[in-house]
């Protein structure tokens, strides 16, 4: 585990505040994108399962701080999404354009499925009736994946350039 884990907590607290207090003022097609989820999917694709899991856990708890849903439910859903994506990423060839978009759509779908099922299991009322909203969220997250993925990729490469062996 690298030092990047230590930046996860302040980063995701900041992202949770942005998700709760800023993004609701800028909905796209009436839906607010799940930016923390896209960040952890990007990080998992760039750094693998271990760091992705810890980031998913921290991101989920940060988001749950401002939700009336059960504390930890988002973390569980994020962890599951990261597990599936990291497993698929091991088998599929790596790609920087098409595959991140597919992973974002898949990750959002898994997150929604696990989150809605888990909160229902804990007795919180959930309706699977708003399917159109959920489909829009999957598509929106997929559409926003590339900018976020490339932003993280660019920041990382400018901070930590790859070592070249001669």
């Amino acid at each position: 585990m690298k030092s990047s884990v230590y930046i996860a907590l302040p980063l995701f607290l900041l992202l949770a505040v942005v998700q709760t207090a800023v993004l609701p003022y800028f909905p796209i097609f009436g839906i607010v994108a799940q930016v923390p989820l896209l960040v952890i999917i990007s990080w998992t694709l760039l750094h693998g399962l271990e760091e992705g899991l810890v980031w998913a856990f921290v991101a989920g708890l940060s988001v749950d701080l401002f939700s009336i849903g059960p504390f930890g439910a988002t973390a569980l859903a994020y962890i599951t999404a990261v597990l599936v994506i990291a497993s698929l990423n091991n088998f599929l060839p790596s790609g920087r354009f098409f595959l991140p978009v597919v992973y974002a759509a898949l990750g959002t779908f898994i997150y929604l499925l696990v989150y809605l099922s888990f909160v229902r299991l804990l007795g919180y009322g959930t309706a699977f009736g708003t399917i159109s909203n959920l489909v829009t969220l999957v598509l929106l997250n997929a559409g926003l994946m590339l900018p976020i993925y490339w932003l993280i990729y660019g920041i990382e490469h400018s901070i930590r350039p790859r070592r070249v062996e001669v």
Partner: protein
């Protein structure tokens, strides 16, 4: 010991620990055992949330009026400097008028039912979790806000306080799936139970007796039954009625009067006279 398998074992342990912790926290929170910890962590975040929300609202307001800006730019090209400054002055006056209208609506609402004690609160955050509808307000237990208190806006019922910290509170909206509000219709006087979670943020009124002829357009109000909400707060209007003689009751879809996406200021009803339901608990005297 097989060293090749060690990283895999560590990986499995990490997964089990993280998943286990998440599940444990969820169960503890669902049973109300994390409330004091939440107050400790959430309260400092409320200050950041309030500040950020205020800035975001300003930026959002500026960006949501590109047509005004565009038309203003066209006018700038056509008109002289004097007209330009008048235009700006006009914008400021419109902003003030908007604020005045908001305050007037709130004042009128208070005047309609002066018997309730209210606390004004600003909305500083919104839950973006799928299928959970809640907002965060900037008043908490230090301001007298308690769990279960009803929340209303100038246009109608908003929800109930779900959880408090000393300086903020989370409010479950009436559109949330878990919400249930005893309600009554304005014209037919039929009663029912209003639930959230409908398509497009609509509400569903269940258990309406078949003997009532429910009309589209009727106003739905709180009935006050159960004592959790005051009587006669507007909830919305009937947009659809499904009546089947095979069923024991009929159902109606209610469009809420409140636009939950643009809520800025709400009232916490801190004290009201609930309907007297003692007659149900006291044994008959003869």
């Amino acid at each position: 010991m097989n060293l090749n398998k060690t990283p895999q074992r560590i990986r499995v342990i990490v997964i089990v620990v993280l998943v286990g912790t998440a599940v444990l926290l969820s169960i503890l929170d669902s049973t109300g055992n994390l409330n004091s910890l939440f107050s400790f962590v959430r309260d400092p975040m409320t200050i950041v949330l309030g500040w950020t929300s205020g800035r975001a609202e300003t930026v959002s307001g500026a960006l949501s009026g590109p047509r005004d800006l565009q038309s203003a730019q066209e006018q700038i090209a056509l008109l002289q400097n004097q007209v330009d400054s008048l235009e700006r002055e006009n914008e400021e006056l419109r902003e003030i008028q908007g604020e005045y209208q908001l305050l007037l609506d709130l004042f009128n609402r208070v005047r309609q039912s002066p018997e309730y004690t209210r606390q004004t609160a600003s909305v500083i955050g919104r839950d973006t979790s799928p299928s959970i509808r809640s907002i965060i307000i900037d008043k908490g237990s230090d301001d007298g806000v308690r769990v279960g208190m009803p929340i209303e806006s100038a246009r109608g019922l908003v929800g109930r306080v779900f959880r408090t910290t000393p300086h903020s509170a989370q409010v479950a909206l009436i559109t949330d799936n878990a919400s249930a509000v005893p309600s009554r219709l304005g014209n037919s006087r039929a009663t029912g139970l209003l639930r959230g979670g409908g398509l497009g943020g609509s509400l569903t009124m269940d258990w309406i007796d078949l003997k009532y002829q429910v009309e589209v357009g009727e106003v739905a109000l709180t009935s006050g039954l159960g004592g959790e909400f005051p009587q006669d707060i507007v909830i919305g209007r009937i947009s659809e009625v499904s009546r089947s003689e095979a069923e024991l009751s009929q159902q109606a879809i209610v469009q809420p009067a409140v636009d939950f996406d643009s809520l800025e200021v709400v009232f916490v009803i801190t004290d009201f006279q609930p309907i007297d339901i003692d007659i149900f608990s006291d044994p008959p005297s003869n």
